[in-house]
């Protein structure tokens, strides 16, 4: 789940509940089957979220600095996650535990609102993704990635991008050589 920066004031209220963590490249924030016990504000670095579909990893989201990542449904409802979150670069994150999130809600109602806004934004992202995955050609998908998330192409390996776009490694490779 990728989200935008939040307003400064609300952030200050939360500061006592937050914890800074350093994550090495390749380490996991959550693994499938675990309950996700925190939400992470990415200060520096990059993560991928992926599912397993018949033993194959399908990337569903890349989350970079100044956004939030978490296994959303697992975190909110404290149920086992159906997805894994792995860092693709050495990263610095600021985390909030589910226990402290409840404290935060008690302390300031603005956080409930923020949660709503973020969730609505996630709906839009998922809706766009559904359309892109099923109604765009491989070439269109790649061009739109360049257009809307250009940094991803610089920072993520071809195989992970192909998985995210729902096309094969080979097809993406051929598309790239055509474009340049």
């Amino acid at each position: 789940m990728q989200m935008t920066p939040m307003d400064k004031k609300s952030f200050d209220i939360a500061i006592k509940y937050l914890k800074i963590e350093r994550i090495k490249k390749g380490e996991f924030l959550v693994r499938e089957g675990q309950i996700c016990n925190k939400i992470a504000f990415i200060h520096e670095g990059l993560f991928r979220i992926y599912n397993l579909k018949e033993g194959i990893e399908i990337n569903t989201c890349f989350c970079k600095e100044n956004s939030i990542t978490s296994s959303f449904n697992s975190f909110i409802h404290q149920i086992p996650s159906n997805e894994s979150i792995q860092s693709l670069e050495d990263s610095v994150i600021v985390t909030l535990s589910s226990a402290n999130l409840i404290n935060l809600y008690k302390e300031s109602s603005i956080w409930q609102n923020i949660r709503l806004l973020l969730t609505e934004k996630e709906c839009l992202r998922l809706s766009d993704r559904a359309n892109s995955l099923s109604f765009e050609s491989a070439l269109e998908k790649y061009k739109n990635l360049i257009k809307y998330q250009p940094e991803i192409i610089q920072r993520v390996s071809i195989q992970h991008i192909a998985s995210y776009l729902g096309i094969s490694r080979e097809t993406l490779s051929r598309i790239r050589s055509q474009i340049d």
Copy 2:
């Protein structure tokens, strides 16, 4: 946007803001480009939500009795809708205007909560849809539709179902003759 029934008590609070409407088959709740000014609780009937993609209608959701339909993003933010909602059967709906939704929020904070829950549920639906559209074969898509939304197959025409599943009319027709 399809949602589940809500709790009786919250519903009673809202009752003075609600209005009953009858919609004939083929009529529209919203058309693309209009601002969606109401949310509809479907008492009886069936609707489809669709987008235009290069002049072709793509169905994104079917909404039946005991669920809610609205052009979600348009309604919440009062911006022009990018989708249309059309009834597929003569329908009876209970509507709430955006103005009255604000009244409702003032009167009872539970409605903010309900909105959040519904939005989160919609996220899950969209996430499932994204996966289904891009990683399932035509046959799997159809089988899952039978499994999870069997009534749709009885009540909706083949062409609309095909559009919803992201496959061609002809392919769906062939799949159906194989299965029976």
